[in-house]
């Protein structure tokens, strides 16, 4: 049990942080929603009603989609783009999908390579792109959920303000949808750009996101 906790500390730790933050968001969001309901002479909602509402769903989904977009783009961008000196980058000159030898494919697979890496053909082709593909699919699904929940929440707001509701296409072209989307995207792109550049010059002893403290600034792809 103790070994399982130790071996999976990162995923368990962040899983618990995620749940705690989501619960906090539910309470804060309910209070905020009920404040707005008072202003618009609407009825108050319980916590259960709030967490099953489109208002809660759109606030959750708009953040999820941007996080999955961040990782989707990062996974793909780092195949082709490099940053000299950054532990987030592979070596300059290694851009592209690399050779079978470097990727341990074909005749270079080992006995403990994953089955689909050893299989060859379409299975290996799919497995070779599975990380980016799943991140991309989660991004698309979250963004779709944002558009559906966002339309529902926005239309309730529009009706409260005596305006006609919008169709799904009308909402996807609306300022509300793009404001929610882009305010999340810009922060994700800033965060990635920051860690790539700052990690060239700064260190965090013991973190795989950092180079070893004594490494020179121009060392790329090294962590410790």
């Amino acid at each position: 049990m103790r070994k399982a906790l130790r071996d999976n500390g990162l995923s368990i730790g962040f899983g618990l942080l995620f749940l705690a933050a989501l619960v906090g968001q539910a309470f804060a969001g309910q209070a905020d929603f009920n404040d707005r309901q008072l202003a618009e002479a609407g009825r108050q909602v319980t916590l259960v009603q709030y967490v099953t509402s489109s208002d809660f769903a759109v606030d959750v989904a708009e953040n999820w989609q941007s996080e999955y977009l961040q990782f989707f783009l990062y996974v793909f961008a780092t195949v082709w783009l490099v940053q000299r000196g950054s532990p987030e980058s592979k070596l300059v000159g290694k851009t592209g999908t690399e050779s079978d030898e470097e990727q341990k494919l074909g005749e270079y697979t080992t006995e403990d390579s994953p089955a689909w890496a050893r299989a060859g053909g379409w299975r290996t082709a799919v497995f070779s792109r599975s990380l980016g593909a799943v991140m991309g699919a989660l991004f698309v699904l979250s963004w779709l959920a944002q558009s559906i929940a966002g339309r529902s929440a926005y239309n309730a707001e529009r009706l409260a303000q005596l305006q006609d509701p919008l169709s799904w296409l009308g909402y996807v072209g609306s300022a509300d949808f793009w404001n929610r989307t882009l305010q999340n995207w810009q922060s994700e792109f800033l965060a990635i750009g920051s860690i790539v550049v700052v990690s060239i010059y700064l260190r965090q002893r013991g973190s795989p996101e950092s180079k070893p403290v004594g490494d020179p600034h121009d060392t790329t792809q090294d962590s410790g």
Binding site: A41, G42, S53, S54, A145, A160, P165
Partner: protein, 121 residues
């Protein structure tokens, strides 16, 4: 109640029917000259506005407004709000503790801006 707070709109479902029935009861009360019944279907804020605008009690004031009284159409429901378009009017409703109530009636479109309504609470 599940549909009430569902992510997707459920205007054609049971809640749409309930909102549509409230709107229909409101216009039917107007058509029959039953001010008390019409006032019972208005939100508290709408009652206040009607009374203060006409300077009469709600029962008389709501009939004095001359609101369109055609049979109501289908309702579009989003969250706790609904819109019902009839042949000659647009009604807005809210789902309050005691059911669907009319918050705005006698509404005319103003392009991109909100509807202007004779009753607006």
């Amino acid at each position: 109640m599940a549909c009430a707070w569902a992510v997707a709109g459920c205007g054609a479902g049971q809640r749409g029917e309930e909102a549509g029935a409230a709107a229909e009861a409101f216009v039917a009360a107007l058509a029959e000259g039953d001010g008390a019944a019409a006032c019972g279907l208005l939100s508290p804020e709408a009652v206040e506005q009607v009374v203060s605008q006409e300077g009469k009690d709600c029962e008389a004031a709501v009939l004095a407004l001359g609101l369109p009284a055609e049979a109501s159409g289908t309702a579009e429901v989003w969250g706790d709000r609904a819109q019902v378009k009839t042949g000659s009017d647009v009604l807005f409703l809210a789902e309050l503790e005691d059911g669907w109530k009319v918050v705005a009636a006698g509404c005319a479109p103003q392009g991109e801006r909100p509807y202007e309504c004779e009753v607006e609470g």
